[in-house]
Point group: C2
Chain length 199, copies 2
DNA sequence: CCGGATCCTTATAGATACTG
DNA sequence: CAGTATCTATAAGGATCCGG
């Protein structure tokens, strides 16, 4: 139990989620619970012992809890959302490196939230986003992104099927291969979604 | 050069400021530039080699720059402010530990920003806050905290002289020893400042 | 097969001493 | 004053192994 030993809320926060990999483990739980093996697949470079250590640390800190063989953010862990938002905004403006490397499906889908530009108030729809491994639900309410989580919706206005690299390019504004994106359902609703990701 | 190797803005941010002590070094520069020895005094547990490493890392990352023997945040480093705000808000709500340990003067003064409650629009004033080691300037404009930085103001409406532990108690809402706070200048202006710190 | 624990190697942090 | 050098302790990285 390594601590900064400072009576400062920032230092205390870092005592809890400042260890290596801790915040990335938490990130993988932002869209819903995950099992140990799923976390390992999403974070291939973490190694089993460090992952087990971090999950223990995060549980002891009250950030993560275990429910029937799955790990989930607690309510307080979910309150990390503004921290993720601020870090993503800052890291995304980095002048040093344009970002390259691996990405988990969750990380790409979370990019939707980061790059989402609100639309018209008459836009309300539910989308299914199907990637190679998982399906996700995005719900737009009055032009705003009201819900984004792992798992397929019961019914969707439109279903977008693609792979995470194409989606990353779409969201990041880079060049995407249109043939790798399949849209089913309400084409107009889908178009509004794509428009909301453009700069 | 250890990296998460992920194309995720959060992971990239953590590549830059996620190493141990990095964000606390940056915190000590939020209120103004510091010299190496001052950083060491503010962060007594960091050790000289780790401090030197972090300062090098942060410079290479473009977060910190060196100007005539002082370290300062770059413009982009100053953009970390929302990250600090989010972390402080989250860490301050921790149900686990109520915060205990050392505090640098800067960390206590930064608490003023965290706990500041805006006041009436007719409230505009400049304050000098004198602690054991350093003096700080707080400028209120139309009830809002417009400026907070290290260094004494040219002229102050009121001057508050105390020590960092008393100020920490005052800001945190804990019991403070009134005899350890000295106020000079406009007493009414000083009262408004103290009121803005109360819950 | 899933969910880790163990073991070993390497890298980083912590502490203290020392130097241009 | 501003670090570097050196040494030790701890944590991360990586492969393999084990119990339910």
């Amino acid at each position: 139990v390594r601590t900064y030993g400072q009576a400062c809320p920032v230092a205390h926060a870092l005592d809890l989620i400042g260890e290596r990999w801790a915040l990335l483990v938490a990130r993988e739980l932002r869209l819903g619970p995950r099992r140990y093996a799923e976390l390992q697949a999403a974070l291939p470079r973490i190694g089993p012992s460090v992952l087990a250590d971090r999950l223990r640390d995060l549980q002891r800190a009250g950030v993560v809890e275990r429910r029937d063989r799955q790990y989930a953010l607690t309510a307080w862990g979910a309150d990390l959302e503004p921290v993720f938002t601020a870090l993503a905004a800052w890291g995304g403006r980095s002048p040093v490196v344009p970002l390259a490397g691996e990405v988990s499906e969750d990380a790409v889908v979370l990019g939707l939230r980061t790059s989402f530009r609100p639309g018209e108030p008459d836009w309300s729809a539910t989308y299914a986003i199907r990637l190679e491994r998982d399906a996700y639900t995005a719900r737009i309410d009055a032009g705003r992104l009201a819900d984004l989580r792992r798992g397929a919706p019961a019914t969707a206005d439109a279903t977008v099927t693609t792979d995470r690299h194409t989606l990353l390019a779409l969201v990041g504004g880079g060049p995407a291969e249109p043939s790798r994106v399949k849209v089913r359902g309400d084409a107009r609703a889908a178009r509004r979604l794509f428009d909301a990701w453009r700069d």
